[in-house]
Subunit: 314 residues, 4 copies
């Protein structure tokens, strides 16, 4: 599991070694991990490459102020929580982050659905891809869920899991061998067999599996990062993107701790109640017994509400 | 090459059979092909599912008018060409189109980079994919270009092409067999082998190749459709997305013929000249001989300019 | 209060008189009011100029279907409510609406903050503005709120209100007289006084008040229309934009009644609970007495929660 | 002309005095002017409040590199010019800038039309506006252009200009007096006349002229900044927004000098030729005489082309 080549690790360390003075807002806890490859899955990572702003910048923009805003953390915290609670999103858009992410293509296809972001992806038309595929850990193999029609249910038994992983590994290896054969080129683009033509890169790659790793620079603002996290750290998200979202939560804690805490409290661990659900809560708090028939809720929503109020929900 | 199942074809025909009166702008030439699957590549298609506006709607919005705008085509044409020439893009945004597109995943990954659009994609977490892969025609197999570092050069000889296609077909078939085995489900989701577990859909699909077909509903406005066409109908675009862009050009001609013509003239077949290139042209028109040394242009841009002025460029 | 000139009314009626057959989805209740100027404030209006899709189009996109989707309203309703509840927003983006809106400039400045929309505004650089200003009804004049720092509190007494309105009317009339003098042009652009120069339109208008009416074509998708309505139909929004949002709610009911109802239930009349607020509700439902000290909530959020659970909140 | 209060100037200086070390990319020439109010018009300014990236960051993103990209300026310059020439816009989106801008409301209304940006504006619902209005310099007063239907023509004679400015000043002063009367509050929000009610801020401001200054935090990426500059530094843009665009050009030169130069060469001082215009150029270069009749161009476009080729155009 070589996540980084020696040359890549050296480039990263060189970048980390240099500092320069700036008049801009600095987030010290984020500087600590700047450029480092935070591991995700078997070959992936997230690297913070650049950022703009901190908690104070949110306050500064909300107040359209001439200086750096207040210096009293308690006031800043109150304002930031107020903004989050009332979904005043624009001050959170005033912070920006740039990441270098390595991720399997099927994860990339989910990730790219978030449109309010800037992206530069490694080009498989221009360059040759490395032999790196995502292969799940055996304990993450599971059957189709019978509850959540798009997710996973119970884990597969170890013997069946081992057989499944063998198939995934075998097919990926074969697809990569075919890729090299079609390209007729090694990792440096040099011909392997001078006697036959090599296929153009943009075509040779079409047989590679969706588990192939790609990488990109991805830049977004804090509000849209939170939105991404809200959708992708959710229990309904596919495990393989959820682990990226969890690393982003750690990054946000280092970068804008007050805003990140407000996000966790108001969005990630909060809940939306419909008019009907709110009515159920109000009636119960008045001592009334409410069953589904008198609630006006459908069966599915009723069960979701019962789980939520019992505290069972994620 | 079954592009549509019988049930799908019947659903489409049923939709085409029904009409209803509307007070909205109607584009008759686009109505003719509404819902039809316009074939692209070996299994793909573009279907126009809905649209809003026509050439007149562009004029109407540019004038913020109370009625349908002018009825004199010559005036409308002049205004539309003026708007296109001066890049007044907002009136073109007042027309909207919704497409159902079936396309290989590696094309989908290029397509989705256009962010100003709305997308609903067929979910391989929820549903089972069909056994449909893109396999190029032999004559489209080509070596890596030595000029354009991300494109194709000369065609591969027929014998080599046949061998390459065999590999692509073999690997795709094996990957699909593995998919069915892992799922342990047929196309209707029924278990094939009751004695062993089936893997969740979101995981079973990760071994499928990038040539697998997917499909989506995709909606955008006319300005962004033109922008898509400008980038993807370009000779530098990969052939497999260019053929989709070419079908879009036909659709635009049916929908908004005046705007589509203006787009072809000003954007697709026009050219950008830099300050330095413009200076070369001016000096030559004054009778001066200008060579690269006195032009201030780099070698690559000089060659591009020479080709452009000679009329060789696409 | 001449909202429309005779020529404008005639243009609108001419548009309403013509129908043509279409194969597209048609929303009959919306066709009924198509092009009509729905009055808002003293001179403003909203006109629906075009639309794409209906409730069924949401279902069709969510299923990426080949036909028009299901025809059973009960199934469609269940799916639409599920999508709204779980904030699966992309199917709602598949419906699009285009409006012609006449509104005071200070309202336009709030409205334009919604960026995911297309806009063509009447140009005061190119054209001469009409003498139309928003003057509030006396009963809408109120003092600054002491609770909501950006809103209105109690109504001003009638005598004071009358004096205030006189000032607003007087200043607006004077500003318009100055505008005509500076332009030295009548409504048709003809010079009034041949002996002196007229100021360019882009400059002459800078002295006009923010209450001056402007108009634009504005186009957005149903998801973003709902987002606009959620923010602008809220009790914290300024009254003068709230009345536009209320007309939009009526329009949505005609256009996509199932989606509009789901929006009202889940967004407009629903509520967000934070982690801490949810904890208060759970503890109370278990019979525990919770006061602010043990709730972990700030004073402001505590009061908001108490009002919400008592059913006092809007 | 007090552009900044003492308190504001002091806050700015305090911010400028502090530096901290960072591992991020730093643009030294931009650091020099960070937070300073660069004057525009009579009371306006642009302040750079924060930025992310530099020329090297464009290269780094285009290459999806692990380190800081190349260090050879000549290579970076070649790549940046190539990206600009071929409209590969995404690497330019990897740089971000945040500005604090003070500007008249009629300029703000043009500015806000650029949607791909983040904005926090000073709220006249929450706060009281200062007595600051834009009044043009006498030499900028001009008649409506007879050529460009939305711009200015010849300057107005000094006597007429003086009379016009008196009117603008008088009306603005009166509108502000009315504002204070309606609010019944001084600049600190304290009542002026305890005996009568004050109107809510959101209503009292509706009589203020479009020349009133507002301010906002505005954040965008380098590609969209260039797009803004291309449209607003153009000779067809209104003078009062063009002067802001010119300050942005200076800022871009300090921030990303290579990209800014490429922008000036390829976009700002370059030209688009249509298919027909390109044909005229090619034929002339082959020695053919082409007049309008044989050019296929309309009168207006023909004149624009003649001016362009003669080097008269801006």
């Amino acid at each position: 599991m070589t996540r980084l080549s020696e040359a890549q690790a050296a480039e990263i360390e060189a970048g980390r070694g240099e500092t320069a003075p700036t008049r801009r807002a600095v987030a010290p806890a984020l500087e600590e991990i700047l450029y480092q490859a935070l591991p995700v899955l078997d070959h992936g990572f997230i690297r913070v490459v650049d950022y703009m702003g901190d908690d104070n910048a949110i306050v500064q923009a909300a107040r359209v102020s001439y200086g750096r805003g207040t210096r009293k953390t308690s006031q800043d915290e109150g304002l930031i929580r107020y903004l989050m609670r009332h979904r005043h999103t624009s001050p959170f858009e005033m912070c920006e982050i740039k990441l270098h992410v390595k991720l399997p293509m099927f994860v990339a296809r989910q990730w790219i659905r978030h449109r309010t972001a800037n992206v530069n992806e490694y080009s498989a038309r221009y360059s040759i891809l490395d032999k790196e595929f995502y292969v799940p850990e055996a304990e993450h193999l599971a059957v189709q869920s019978s509850q959540n029609h798009q997710g996973r249910g119970e884990a597969v038994d170890p013997a069946a899991a081992a057989a499944m992983l063998d198939i995934l590994r075998r097919d990926a290896a074969q697809a990569f061998d075919s890729y090299v054969y079609l390209l007729n080129a090694d990792a440096h683009g040099e011909p392997v067999d001078a006697g036959r033509p090599g296929l153009a890169r943009e075509l040779a790659r079409i047989g590679l599996p969706l588990s192939t790793y790609t990488q990109w620079y991805w830049k977004t603002d804090l509000h849209n990062l939170f939105h991404f996290m809200a959708l992708r750290a959710d229990s309904h998200a596919q495990y393989e993107i959820r682990v990226y979202a969890d690393v982003l939560r750690d990054i946000a804690q280092r970068w804008t701790p007050l805003a990140a805490q407000a996000f966790e409290d108001y969005r990630l661990h909060g809940a939306d109640l419909s008019r009907q659900a709110l009515d159920v809560v109000r009636r119960r708090l008045r001592g009334e017994t409410v069953d589904r028939a008198s609630s006006g809720l459908g069966l599915r929503e009723w069960r979701e509400l019962e789980a939520l109020l019992a505290g069972d929900a994620s």
